[in-house]
Structures are given as structure tokens and as C-alpha cells.
């Protein structure tokens, strides 16, 4: 099995998996970070309570989070094709991965920011901070270590989903595992992809947790 073709295939698979995971995580945060902040600020105890907005976002997040990833993947194929021009391969997979991870990221961000002591926010208000200043200068910096931990969870979860997308031709290590293990019964190659996935998770998790620890002055 260790011919050059297989090896190149595996290297390409690792590259594609990382590409899907990192780009999807990035876009998931572009959507999820503001959404998470809004969930905190618009809540009843938030700095700018907007009950209807909170309720709406809360329901949307819950609904999208309860759709199984594989069903979402298939259901939004027309949309994916509209955005990327294709429905297979790593780039196409980024669309459902992002959409599926964004509400999850929003919840992670929400819970991280909620950990910030309300007394500190009150102190900032007493010093004349505007709501924007409270978000940028109090909530996000104070929650930073916890936000990085959340990011580690999000990235590794997205990596797992990206492998699942391999089943429908999403590319990356998932596709290799499916093609070799599921269709050709070449379990050795499949096993190698699983080991590679485990390694990627370990490395990503390790780097981010280290970063969270270093940034925490508490």
C-alpha cells in the first residue's frame, strides 16, 4: 500500500482536511462571534436588553443546531452550488460546515462572555463606557482565554464534521477513509487516515490550549 500514489493521496487529504476545517472555522466565527455577542447583550440581564431579538436569535440557534449535519449537507446543496459552483470537493464542503458550526460557535461565545464578572461590566459603566466599549474593551479581552478554549472545541468538532462530509465526496481524509475502507475494504489505509485525524486533533487542541493558558492572567 505504501506506494507513492497512496502517500501523495494521504498528504493531499491532510491538506484538504486542514483547509476545510480552518476556513470553515474562520467563517463560522465571522457569523458566530457577533451572534454570540448579541445573545449576551440582548438578554434580559444584558447591557442592552432586547427580549424579542434575544428570543428570535435563541430560537434560530436552537433550530439550526438540532439539524443533523449530514441532512443539512444534502438539504442545502442548491445553495452550496450557488455559492461555490459545485457540490463536491473541499471548497463545496466549507458551506455546510460553516452553516452548521456558526450556531454552535455562537453558543460557545455566549457562554464564554457570560463568565465575565458582571461587577467588572458595572465598573466600566460607572466609568462612562459605552456599550461598544464594553464589548471591545471589557467582554472580549476579559473572556479571551475562555474564547480560545471554545475555539479549540469548535475547530476539532468541525474537523470531525469535515471527515463526515467525506462520505458524500467532500474531500479530505474523510473521503479517503470512505473510498478505501468502505468501498474497497482496504482497512490499512482507512486506519492510517483515522490516525492522521487523531494527530491533527491533538496538535490543534494542544496549540490552542497552550495559547489559552498563556493569555490567561487570572
Amino acid at each position: 500500500m505504501w506506494d507513492e500514489t497512496t502517500l501523495n493521496l494521504l498528504i493531499q487529504g491532510v491538506g484538504e482536511s486542514l483547509y476545510m476545517t480552518l476556513v470553515s472555522t474562520f467563517f463560522a466565527y465571522i457569523i458566530g462571534l457577533p451572534l454570540g455577542i448579541l445573545l449576551v447583550t440582548s438578554a434580559k440581564e444584558g447591557i442592552r436588553p432586547r427580549p424579542w431579538l434575544f428570543k428570535t436569535l435563541d430560537v434560530i440557534v436552537n433550530l439550526t443546531r438540532s439539524i443533523p449535519f449530514l441532512i443539512l449537507l444534502v438539504a442545502i446543496i442548491p445553495f452550496t452550488r450557488l455559492v461555490t459552483g459545485t457540490m463536491i470537493g473541499p471548497t463545496a464542503t466549507i458551506v455546510p460546515l460553516t452553516l452548521s458550526a456558526a450556531p454552535f460557535v455562537a453558543r460557545l461565545v455566549e457562554s464564554s462572555i457570560k463568565e465575565v464578572d458582571v461587577g467588572v461590566i458595572e465598573a466600566a459603566q460607572s466609568m462612562g463606557a459605552s456599550n461598544m466599549q464594553i464589548i471591545w474593551k471589557v467582554m472580549l479581552p476579559e473572556a479571551k482565554p475562555s474564547l480560545i478554549v471554545g475555539c479549540a472545541i469548535a475547530t476539532t468538532t468541525i474537523l470531525g464534521y469535515s471527515a463526515m462530509a467525506g462520505f458524500t465526496g467532500g474531500g479530505g481524509l474523510g473521503t479517503i477513509a470512505t473510498n478505501f475502507g468502505f468501498y474497497r475494504y482496504q482497512y490499512d489505509v482507512m486506519l492510517v487516515t483515522v490516525v492522521l485525524l487523531v494527530l491533527i486533533v491533538q496538535v490543534l487542541q494542544g496549540i490552542l490550549m497552550k495559547l489559552a493558558g498563556l493569555s490567561n492572567k487570572k
Binding site: 464578572d117 458595572e122 465598573a123 466609568m127 462612562g128 479581552p141 476579559e142 492572567k217 487570572k218
Partner: protein, 337 residues
């Protein structure tokens, strides 16, 4: 009467809860003068923390007005309110420092909010940390500081924007007695040197005694009594004031039937054995029920409660003896602790 800096008129505050409206403050009227240290004391749950938050509108009063330097706080726009808050520093029981910033970063924070450039902010932070005696801790994070040091950073931070008023919400309640004394001394120094009016919220009478000029006692959502600290301390009129003036060792049940004398040492008498001499002079024993006196620079400060003999003549003689020594004495029989 000095010039008023904060005037609270007919202020009420109620919260809506599941069980209906809860009134936390009702019909509060207070005038706080420039340059004084004004204490607001009450048991926990009396509403004093809400009252101080109504001053800087962290809580919006339900009724009534708060005038700060003659301006109606409730009529300010959001932007104006943020401006005005910069002239009212606030410190808290739990310090509320930014945990991810150094001491210096914390002091720079309100200056950043106000749009000051970084170099000037750092310079000002350095001066302020020096003022509170923490010049060497500029680069330390709050987690590396003790409670007293954290409160000093919080004070430096509150002073950064040159406030006219410093609001202290139970600022010493999380500190040990020695640290409390040093923080109170710092606050008094700030009041005198920088001419900053201080509003002290506390549940400890000792804090009021130590630094306040005037005090308001708040009980069950309203002001029970207010006036000069000496007056309230020597002659507490209301039941709640008496409760606060007699601290933990408040008079026991024996008090009720037997007549007692409360002696206040206000520093006018020298530290001589008054009670012992009185007993020798009158040739009758007394029972010391409560005593809390301190010798400061050879003067006696504090108070003492003694149970007097049944004999009316002897009791009168003892009152005369104590009063002749320049001490204030009053009868406290009938008082139920």
C-alpha cells in the same frame, strides 16, 4: 452648610419581580455637600447599594430626582450621562478590576475610554499608582495582588478621570481590620488633599466613626436618621441607630429591668481609670456590660455600658461623677437590644 454637590429629592426605586412590585427605596431626601465624607449605613438588604447606584444612574430611580452639581441626572442623554459619570469615580466591595490587565492597564482603562492617548494615560497611571502607594506594582496583574492592594488599584482607577465625587460601595467590607484602617486613611487623605467628596456605603459603624463627617442611616428602604456623626453616635434616637451604635456586643436581656449608664469617651478626657475611681469614690460596685475603648494619643475614645446600683442616690452620684470628668453619660434602661 456647605455647597451641595449631590441632592437627592423624593427618590423612590422599585423593581418588578414575579411576585409583583418590590420597593427598595422610598422617599429618600439627602443633600451631600462639597468636600465632605458622607456615610450611608444600614443593615444588608436595606437598599443602600441601590441608593448609591441611583446617584450615578446605574439604577434608574422610579420616582424623584438626583441633582449632581445642579444637573438633573435623569434628564441627561446617554452621551451626557457617560460624560458626567467620568466625574464620579466608584469603587466596589469586590474591587471589580479587569483581570486580564495589569495594575497600570486598569488605571489606564477609564482614560482610554475617555479617548486619552496611550503615552499620557500611562504617565497619569504612574502618578496615580504612586499616590496610592503601589508604584512598584504597575506591571502586576490583579491575581498577584492582595485584597488591600487590589482596592488601592481600584481607587487609583476611580481617580484617573479627576472626579469630583468618589462613590464607595462597601469598599472595605471584604478586607481585614488592618487593611480597612489603611484604606480608610487613604480615602481620608484623598478627601483632604484632592478635595474629592466621598460617599461611603457601609454596614460597619466603625467605618463611619473613623472617617465620615455626616451620616444617614437607612432602614427598611427609607432614611431613619441623618446628621453629624458625633450626634448620631452619642445620642442615637431611632432603634436602628441604636442597633448600629452598639455593635456585636449589643446590650443583653439583663438590660431591660436594670438601669444602665452608657458612657461615651470622645477624647475630651485623659486616659485615666474612670470606672475604678468612680467605684472607689462612691463605694459601690458596678457591673460592666459592654466596653469598647481605645487609647489614642493619651485620650480615651469609645463607649462603655455599666449597670448601676439599685439605690437611686448612689446612681445619681455616679452620673454626676462621670459627667464631672467631662464625659457624656446617659441612661439606657428600657433599651431592648
Amino acid at each position: 452648610m456647605g455647597e451641595a454637590i449631590i441632592e437627592i429629592r423624593a427618590l423612590s426605586k422599585s423593581f418588578r419581580t414575579k411576585d409583583g412590585e418590590v420597593t427598595v427605596l422610598r422617599d429618600i431626601n439627602l443633600t451631600i455637600e462639597k468636600d465632605e465624607i458622607f456615610g450611608i449605613i444600614g443593615m444588608s438588604g436595606a437598599g443602600k447599594s441601590t441608593l448609591v447606584r441611583c446617584i450615578n444612574m446605574l439604577e434608574k430611580p422610579t420616582h424623584g430626582t438626583v441633582l449632581f452639581d445642579g444637573r438633573d441626572m435623569a434628564k441627561l442623554s446617554e452621551r451626557e450621562l457617560r460624560e458626567v459619570r467620568r466625574s464620579m469615580g466608584m469603587i466596589f466591595q469586590q474591587f471589580n478590576l479587569l483581570m486580564q490587565r495589569t495594575a497600570e492597564g486598569n488605571v489606564c482603562f477609564p482614560l482610554e475610554l475617555a479617548g486619552m492617548d496611550e503615552a499620557s494615560a500611562r504617565k497619569r497611571a504612574k502618578d496615580l499608582l504612586e499616590l496610592v502607594g503601589l508604584a512598584d506594582k504597575a506591571k502586576a496583574y490583579p491575581a498577584q495582588l492582595s485584597g488591600g492592594q487590589k482596592q488601592r488599584v481600584a481607587i487609583a482607577r476611580a481617580l484617573a478621570t479627576d472626579p469630583k465625587v468618589l462613590l464607595c460601595d462597601e469598599a472595605t467590607s471584604a478586607l481585614d481590620p488592618t487593611t480597612t484602617t489603611s484604606i480608610l486613611a487613604l480615602l481620608k487623605d484623598i478627601n483632604q488633599r484632592l478635595g474629592i467628596t466621598i460617599v461611603m456605603i457601609t454596614h460597619q459603624m466603625s467605618v463611619i466613626e473613623e472617617i465620615c463627617n455626616r451620616v444617614a442611616i437607612i432602614d427598611e428602604s427609607h432614611i431613619a436618621e441623618s446628621g453629624k456623626v458625633e450626634d448620631i453616635f452619642y445620642k442615637p434616637k431611632t432603634e436602628i441607630a441604636q442597633k448600629l451604635v452598639y455593635p456585636s456586643g449589643k446590650p443583653t436581656q439583663q438590660f431591660i429591668s436594670k438601669r444602665c449608664m452608657r458612657i461615651v469617651f470622645d477624647g475630651n478626657s485623659s486616659f485615666e481609670p474612670v470606672i475604678a475611681n468612680m467605684v472607689l469614690e462612691c463605694k459601690a460596685p458596678v457591673n460592666i456590660m459592654y466596653a469598647d475603648t481605645k487609647n489614642i494619643d493619651g485620650k480615651a475614645f469609645g463607649q462603655m455600658v455599666v449597670q448601676l446600683p439599685e439605690d437611686e442616690v448612689l446612681a445619681q452620684k455616679m452620673f454626676h461623677y462621670v459627667r464631672a470628668r467631662g464625659l457624656s453619660a446617659e441612661e439606657v434602661n428600657g433599651y431592648v437590644g
